[in-house]
């Protein structure tokens, strides 16, 4: 069990500079929680205006993509900062689906035909796997290739509704492959059925393909590798979104218990409340270290990416759910109402914990990577 030289776990100046305009100009102004509560039950749950701004105004939809392919030529560290801020706002934009999962797949496959459009945020892309799919599972066979057309149904795909391009894992006679489906060209051979999702700020949909025209992006073992890279990248980066969720929960709860009075005292002066928040503070600082560690490994192309991504998911998923659950409890009655946004964060926290592999599955994966085998 060798330790790599310690990665830089801090935020660098570029990352700090990225964070402020995002938090101030975009999320606080354009995505207040009142509007969010209205939006999620409307016909258009995604915030297309915010998504446009992330691409056109701030240029953060393709941070990890080289400049020659229309990206910012930055890296995953910067992407992670955006995810922290989007998590902090439970912003309903397809960033994780398009700028992380689909982009990671396109880059791993050197698929540059649609990459510039995706990187610029002009066309959102989605990786057509159930959102619960983590790395290390058998290659999905829900979609079959016949000729150059795909048929089958993929359930519970995240960020599929706003997507114009799908990346679909499918199995044909020649084995597994990853295929590009242009929805403009596919017409009614592809249909999307929204699902009611626990996380109201990240809609899911079932995608059905009926002889949908598709072009191959990666085939055979390469398709397996590309899908694994995309899911591992997603798992590593999801931890940063989760961190943002936890930070909102902690910060908001601390502020609330300072204001809320019962028994003639701020609720936050009661030792039981203070101690619980102190423990959550510890949990969130640990989650931050673990999330930064995973992102640094991605960015550096470390051979320990899988280990560190699983470590991050194993730790952060439970830490964030615990934080969100405590946030609701410490808000008391108001936290249990629909009008207070804390339930949106709880739902995001729990859904994120199921996304891209549960903590349980990541622990199992990690155990093998660090030579702690199960009982025979």
């Amino acid at each position: 069990m060798s330790t790599e030289p310690a990665a830089d776990l801090l935020y660098n100046e570029v990352e700090d500079e990225l964070r402020l305009p995002l938090r101030r100009a975009l999320l606080a102004d354009r995505c207040p929680t009142g509007a969010l509560l209205t939006r999620i039950e409307s016909d258009e749950p995604y915030d297309t205006e915010l998504w446009r701004a992330l691409g056109a105004e701030l240029g953060v939809t393709g941070l990890s993509v080289p400049e020659e392919y229309g990206g910012a030529g930055a890296g995953w560290r910067e992407t992670a900062v955006v995810l922290e801020e989007l998590g902090r706002a439970v912003a309903p934009v397809p960033y994780l689906g398009s700028s992380v999962l689909a982009t990671a797949a396109l880059m791993a496959a050197d698929e540059t035909r649609v990459l510039p459009e995706v990187a610029a945020g002009r066309r959102a892309a989605a990786l057509a796997v159930p959102f619960s799919t983590g790395p290390g599972l058998p290659f999905p066979d829900a979609v079959r290739l016949s000729g150059s057309a795909l048929s089958g149904t993929v359930t519970s795909v995240a960020d599929a509704t706003p997507a114009r391009v799908l990346l679909v894992p499918a199995v044909g006679e020649a084995g597994p492959g990853l295929y590009l489906v242009d929805l403009a060209a596919a017409g009614d051979t592809v249909t999307l059925a929204p699902r009611r999702s626990l996380d109201l700020t990240r809609p899911l949909a079932d995608i059905t393909l009926r002889s949908a025209p598709a072009v191959p992006v990666a085939l055979g073992d390469e398709a397996i590798r590309v899908l694994d890279v995309a899911l591992t990248t997603g798992a590593a980066l999801l931890a940063s979104e989760q961190l943002g969720v936890a930070e909102w929960c902690l910060t908001t709860t601390v502020a609330y218990v300072k204001e809320r009075h019962q028994f003639g005292r701020p609720v936050g002066s009661f030792q039981a409340v203070k101690h619980r928040l102190a423990d959550l503070y510890g949990l969130v600082s640990q989650a931050r270290a673990v999330a930064r560690n995973a992102v640094a490994a991605l960015d550096a192309g470390s051979p320990q990416v899988a280990l560190k991504a699983s470590l991050a998911q194993a730790f952060v998923s439970e830490a964030v759910v615990e934080t969100a659950e405590a946030a609701l409890q410490l808000h008391g009655g108001i936290g249990f109402t629909w009008e207070h946004p804390v339930h949106l964060y709880l739902k995001r926290a729990k859904s994120d914990a199921l996304a891209l592999g549960t903590a349980d599955r990541h622990r199992s994966a990690l155990a093998l990577l660090v030579d702690l085998p199960p009982a025979a």
Partner: protein, 410 residues
């Protein structure tokens, strides 16, 4: 179950034995076949025979008999085919309004309210909690001012977490009549007509999407002084009596093994082998162990109550149940994985009384059980109660009990 000792009524020399009560039940049942009689009429006959609450006074649904003999009546009624006394909509009426009226109501109030309450003709709700007064109920701000000419009370304020307010005829209300006194001393207790002008009931939507509870807005609602219960300023004393009755009502019935959420979790594990993982097995078995331990604890509590030695374990069991329910529903979502990402119904609606709770998704339970550690006394408050009242640990230093309510920081 029946006591062997004779009991004397306060009014006469009459001695109530189990046998005499059985015969009284038999008389009512003979005259009003429960299978064919209109429920209101049947319940009215029971009330008039003094079999509603045998320990209540004659004329008010009782016989001044020992309270322990009520179970004889209930067993006999069940045997005779009377419908079970499931309170449903009438939980507050039967569990809180009736005992309060018995303990603190005047003759006229008992006369007016007890019979229609028992016959289910009038539904009751409870107007206690407020946005600013949750755990600290005594800090409530709803104001009642007396109109000096009519003697009526004029009430304004907002109440929350009110079950069945939209169906209720009457509300049990605590309001502040003297803001210049320390908070416990300036409260009075009223019966408020829920159909009176100025009462507005709005559904209160929860994290689950639906609205089990209501907010009640009171704007210059007039309450005649005859609907005040207890003396002016005695509101806290009356309300505390009511809350105690609420606590006694918790956890009374025996539960079968795998009753409650553990049943659903165990079924999920048994019926969906493809979802099982090595890592989730131990949490499932732990949940089973903890659920069974709690079931046995509740059973032991029930046996203590039956033996006349009520134990203080109830609050501790409520804390543990809340935590366990939250843990089990979260675990079920972990087991479900992809299916756990979905939800069954976000519709903003009031649940129907006959909604089949068992058909709801684990996602619903995951959200709904978050309320278990808030409603009916937060886990934090119950821990204080156990520490101070059971273990005898000293209270924290407090100042809010002595300074005028209007001067409290908030």
């Amino acid at each position: 179950m029946a006591s062997a000792q004779p009991a004397h009524s306060a009014r006469t020399d009459q001695v109530w034995t189990a046998d005499r009560l059985r015969s009284a039940v038999h008389t009512v049942v003979s005259a009003h076949d429960p299978a064919t009689t209109d429920p209101v009429e049947f319940l009215g006959a029971l009330f008039d025979a003094g079999l509603a609450w045998v320990h209540f006074p004659p004329g008010h649904g009782g016989l001044n008999a020992p309270r322990a003999l009520q179970s004889v009546v209930d067993d006999e009624l069940t045997a005779a085919g009377a419908p079970p006394r499931a309170p449903g909509l009438h939980t507050i009426g039967l569990g809180m309004a009736a005992p309060v009226l018995l303990a603190f109501g005047d003759e006229a109030q008992k006369k007016r309210f007890l019979r229609p309450l028992f016959t289910r003709q009038e539904v009751w709700c409870q107007l206690f909690s407020e946005p600013g007064a949750g755990s600290d109920l005594a800090a409530l701000a709803t104001r009642a001012e007396q109109d000096e000419t009519t003697g009526d009370w004029v009430v304004s304020g907002q109440k929350v977490w009110t079950s069945v307010a939209h169906e209720a005829h009457w509300g049990l209300l605590v309001a502040r009549t003297a803001p210049e006194l320390p908070k416990h001393q300036g409260l009075s207790y009223f019966l408020v007509d829920m159909r009176a002008p100025g009462v507005e009931v709005r559904p209160l939507r929860q994290a689950t999407g639906e609205a089990e509870f209501n907010e009640v807005f009171l704007t210059d609602v007039r309450i005649p002084d005859t609907h005040r219960v207890g003396a002016v300023g005695d509101g806290w004393k009356v309300a505390s009596g009511t809350l105690m009755n609420e606590r006694v009502a918790i956890g009374a019935g025996a539960m079968p093994r795998e009753g409650g959420l553990i049943g659903g979790l165990a079924r999920l594990w048994r019926e969906r082998p493809e979802l099982r993982t090595a890592g989730l097995h131990s949490p499932v078995v732990r949940a089973w162990v903890d659920a069974e331990a709690l079931r046995l604890t509740a059973e032991r509590l029930r046996q203590q109550l039956a033996a006349g030695q009520p134990g203080p374990e109830g609050s501790a069991a409520k804390i543990a149940f809340a935590g366990l329910n939250q843990r089990m529903s979260g675990l079920a979502l972990d087991i479900l994985g992809e299916e756990g990402l979905g939800y069954d119904d976000w519709t903003f609606r009031r649940p129907e009384p006959d909604d089949d709770f068992s058909t709801r998704s684990f996602g619903f339970f995951y959200l709904r059980t978050k309320g278990n550690s808030i409603e009916g006394g937060t886990t934090e408050i119950l821990r204080n109660v156990i520490a101070e009242r059971v273990l005898g640990l000293p209270p924290e230093p407090r100042t809010d009990k002595t300074i005028p309510w209007k001067d409290l920081p908030r």
